[in-house]
């Protein structure tokens, strides 16, 4: 393998990108990871548990971060986006634009800046369910463990307060976006996904009915490091819901929204029904679905959930969700296809199983690539030396994303070898 350009750029530091980067680096390549967020880990860092084992994603992330720490072949940049790519296989010229963090490497995560900070921002890590200070650590397990300042949330000159509070000269309010150029032999796209904007389904009440939330918000509610300290509480009155409805295919398998199946939502809702049941032995969960998709050995998980008689699986598509007049409760109208009837039911809270949208839908990669109308990369039409993994090519779960990313690492290595 050539050593002068034995380098791979991995775009995206979520689970797919981390896996691709680590597998390639541990096989001998030099790897650069560019991650848009201020931390690595991506979507899985926001999950309370993985299905089907109900284990915390931070456990595997911890191993992966250790692998990064111990491996001199990997470097990474957070708050970094690829803004320009030229050249071809074996000698791509890539430009990364790194947004200012306003906090430098001297940060020790002591929290003094956040204590001093008087400005607040909506917490995107918790999907808007709470707020953080403008000077903040994205979450307790954030890697790198380094604060940042959300300049958009700062008020005039208030940044001085953080600066003065910091004993370590870690705050640099004069930081500007930085441009970095690299030569790499190949590129792995691992940009991941965004949840489908649930407000676009006006029949499902998201944004209008207070107690309609999304599946990703439910993950944060269940997590001990989330906005409620791990208690599942409904937004309107912070009460624990006793009867929760899970609405499957909220956007997915719908020509007006996402024509594809988002792969993970059935398993995710079954898992979340267990979150609810674990936290409150009296609570009931109803899951309205079109088809229950628990492929392969995931079937065992479905059986496990079915053993719980307080989880009710109802075959039917939800047609409308409204607020019950005079209460904070939510009325769900669904077609129960098994009975052939319309069902009206009232719930304390509704969770929409919102689907996956590839990040390339809104922000195409700065290379002329072919996409499906839904924004997925068409892998057969990628230029030589460019590989796409995980949800860039279609919805996938974590396990299969990791398999795919491991394969992409090898293809990338082969690409490097081809040139030398």
């Amino acid at each position: 393998m050539s050593t002068d350009n034995n380098k791979i750029l991995v775009v995206g530091g979520g689970i797919s990108g981390l896996t691709a980067a680590l597998e390639a680096a541990e096989s001998g390549a030099q790897v650069i990871i560019a991650e848009k967020a201020p931390y690595l880990g991506g979507r899985v860092a926001q999950l309370h548990r993985y299905f089907p084992k109900l284990c915390p994603p931070t456990c595997g992330l911890e191993i992966n971060f250790r692998r990064i720490k111990e491996n001199p072949n990997i470097s990474f940049f957070t708050m970094a986006e690829v803004t320009q790519v030229s050249g071809g296989e074996g000698n791509f010229e890539v430009t990364l634009t790194v947004q200012p963090r306003y906090v430098n490497d001297r940060c020790t995560a002591c929290n003094d800046c956040a204590e001093a900070c008087t400005a607040w921002r909506v917490n995107d890590f918790n999907f808007g369910l709470d707020k953080t200070k403008a000077a903040y650590l994205p979450f307790d397990m954030a890697f790198p463990q380094k604060y940042l300042i959300d300049a958009r949330a700062c008020q005039a000159d208030c940044g001085q307060k953080c600066k003065e509070a910091c004993k370590y000269e870690a705050i640099d309010l004069g930081m500007k976006p930085q441009t970095l150029n690299f030569q790499v032999g190949s590129i792995i796209m691992a940009g991941g996904w965004e949840p489908y904007d649930a407000a676009r389904m006006d029949n499902l009440g998201f944004g209008q009915v207070a107690n309609v939330i999304t599946n990703m918000q439910m993950e944060r509610l269940a997590a001990a490091n989330g906005p409620t300290g791990g208690q599942i509480l409904r937004p309107s009155d912070q009460q624990a819901p006793k009867k929760v409805c899970f609405v499957q295919c909220a956007g997915s398998r719908d020509e007006n929204h996402l024509p594809y199946c988002s792969y993970i939502c059935c398993m995710a809702s079954l898992k979340q029904a267990l979150y609810l049941r674990e936290k409150d032995p009296d609570a009931e969960a109803y899951v309205f679905y079109i088809d229950l998709r628990t492929p392969g050995r995931y079937e065992q998980f479905l059986w496990k959930v079915k053993e719980d008689e307080k989880v009710k699986l109802v075959r039917g598509k939800v047609a409308k969700i409204t607020q019950e007049p005079g209460t904070d409760n939510v009325v769900v109208v669904a077609e129960d296809t098994a009975v052939g009837d319309k069902v009206h039911m009232t719930f304390d809270m509704v969770v929409l199983a919102a689907g996956m949208v590839p990040t390339t839908k809104a922000a195409p990669f700065p290379l002329p690539l072919s996409y499906t109308p839904d924004g997925f990369v068409i892998p057969e039409l990628l230029p030589p030396g460019v590989y796409a993994v995980g949800n860039m090519k279609g919805p996938l779960d974590v396990m299969k994303s990791n398999e795919d990313a491991t394969g992409a690492a090898l293809k990338s290595l082969i690409s490097l070898g081809r040139r030398s």
Binding site: K53, T108, T337, V398, M399, K400, G407, L410
Partner: protein, 719 residues
Amino acid sequence: MEKKFGVYLCKGCGMGEALNFESIAKVVKKEGKIPHIKEHDILCSPEGLDLIKQDMVAEGINCMVIAACSSRVKYEEFDFPNAIVERVNIREQVVWTQEPNTEATQAMAEDYLRMGCARVKKTELPEPYQTECDKTVLVIGGGITGLSAALEAANDGYQVVLVEKEAQLGGYGAKMHRQTPSSYPYTTLQEPVVFKKIQAVLDNPKVRVMTGSLIEKIEGQPGMFDAHIKNNGNVETVRVGSVVLAAGWRPYDATKLAHLGYGLTKDVITNLEMEELAKKGKIVRPSDGKVPERVVFVQCAGSRDPEHLPYCSDFCCLGSLKQAMYVREQNPDAVAMILYKDIRTPGQSELFYKQAQSDPGIMLTKAEVSGVSLAPAGKLLVSATDTLLGDNVAFEADLVVLATGIVPVTVDDPVINLDYRQGPGLPEIDVYNGFADSNFICFPYETRRTAIYAAGCVRQPMTMALAEADGVGAACKAIQALEHVAAGMAVSPRAWDETFPDPFMQRCTSCKRCTEECPFGAIEEDEKGTPFFKINRCRRCGTCMGACPERIVIFKDLNVDLIGSVVKAVDVPELEDEDDPAPPLRIIGLICENDAMPALDAAALHRLRLPSIIRFIPLRCMGSFAMEWIKIALNNGVDGMVLLGCKYGDDYQCHFAKGSELCAYRLTKLSETLDKLGLEADRVQQFQIAISDFDKLPQMLDDFVARVTEIGPNPFKGL
């Protein structure tokens, strides 16, 4: 190397305000016996680091104790090549979880320094274990998975031996008439991709293809496996470095599906028999050779059925949609009816489902098929309940196709036939319904046999497109294993590790606990029954070390004596008054460094209060836990010991699969011993904790402290 020690104390992040550093320095000098001590207000700053670097140059300091934050942070700053660095966590574990400026907090910090000094003295730099390493990949199975694994490994420059038991390559992929589309727009059936792969493999000079061959035995270890391959009655021994197991599947035995009409007439066939018909060119009824007008597909024939296969076979929904298209393509007047429990076309394959649905001649309904019977005029009747068309509906059919599922070949055949003391196959196959799978979501290729990676349908039910990709991933792992073995490093999950177990064999009593307990089958026995280590199979969890009653297993940075010295370094307060209602107690905590330790760090980040009488010692895995440490601790007057390990059982979270479970097993033996000594078993307890359980730690640890307090001080204290 000649060790020169230095201790560096950081006063930042509140440590300077909460602790008495003069007193700490005294302890280090007097008890830690390291006179070279420096402190800095911000040790991780460039100025602080310069202090250390200057000492390295000017004083030759090469072994340092850095008392500052957790080793999980500031790792780049405190990385000094070729030096032994012991991080002592007095930020998260002391200052951020304790009351500032109390005696207890000060005592805690001083203890951690004592422990750090003890540890650095016993730690040595690793020297990698390097052996010869043959960089050939053995791929078992010549189906789509094995072919793509072989091809991509060869494309990356590695030699490959591809072993296929049949006379031809291609597996079930080659028996398909058409393949469901694997790319956008997911509407048209494609030619099976396997034939191109076969040709590419045959054309690749780096791949040696051995058809009609079986693995008789694989012996040795990663980098130097000897595969005994049987071909035509001859056995050839081939040296390889790593293995991809892609032995695939077989269809579920349809004769067990009499309740669905199989065997009733020739016109009830399996999906595989349907492929054969289509491939021959014409779909006809086997009974009379007539072209069927109505074909009914019965989904989940065997799959998702506790009486048959307790899993979904993943590809059958797509397969029947495809075969419905065959029927319609051949005869535009024919009707294909698919009876399903759920249609499972996840991801973008939904678009293919939509395409099939758009054909009015393909009808689909949810149904529980209750039976298949003969009807007049040679027709069949498929009865079903719970359909979208009502209850108790019967569908007339000329031909019934049972969508039979897959059975991994490993269900009754180890295939790899390892010459390992622990058995010929991958362990615990039954937990995964016969599949050669693991339970790791994050690391799907990990098996409990190092450098052997399973892929394709032998690992999980999957479609052809996924199997093809899976083979490439497994090939990547197989190549990586070769490179790590050659460099003398471990593979996942400690892929960076250059330490290895080096047993002092003269003291071995051949009790074989290590050989039995090693989760990876790394320890064999010679003819005399003496264990010997196959280091390249080792994953460095230290389970052998914890298992060995003679304490002979030694890693450069971890061994029974080393941790024993750390335990001994803890200052145990003396019991001055027998009747003290609140006697001073001391507890040792042994914690998993991947999960419990970060959970404790997170508790500190949230500024939760934790008991001040516990001293934590991180271990790479609880599997390395040695009973000797309890003896040492109790002999030194320690009052209790708490072990924080990962979840065990079928859904285990231990990354060495068995570590925390074996630790718990050893503790069951311990309670007998403690009983005999008149000590309460509750003094030593193990808890299962996940990395995300930071919020549970205060209560868990407070409860344990309360229990030990209730039991009272260790009666051996001061003896």
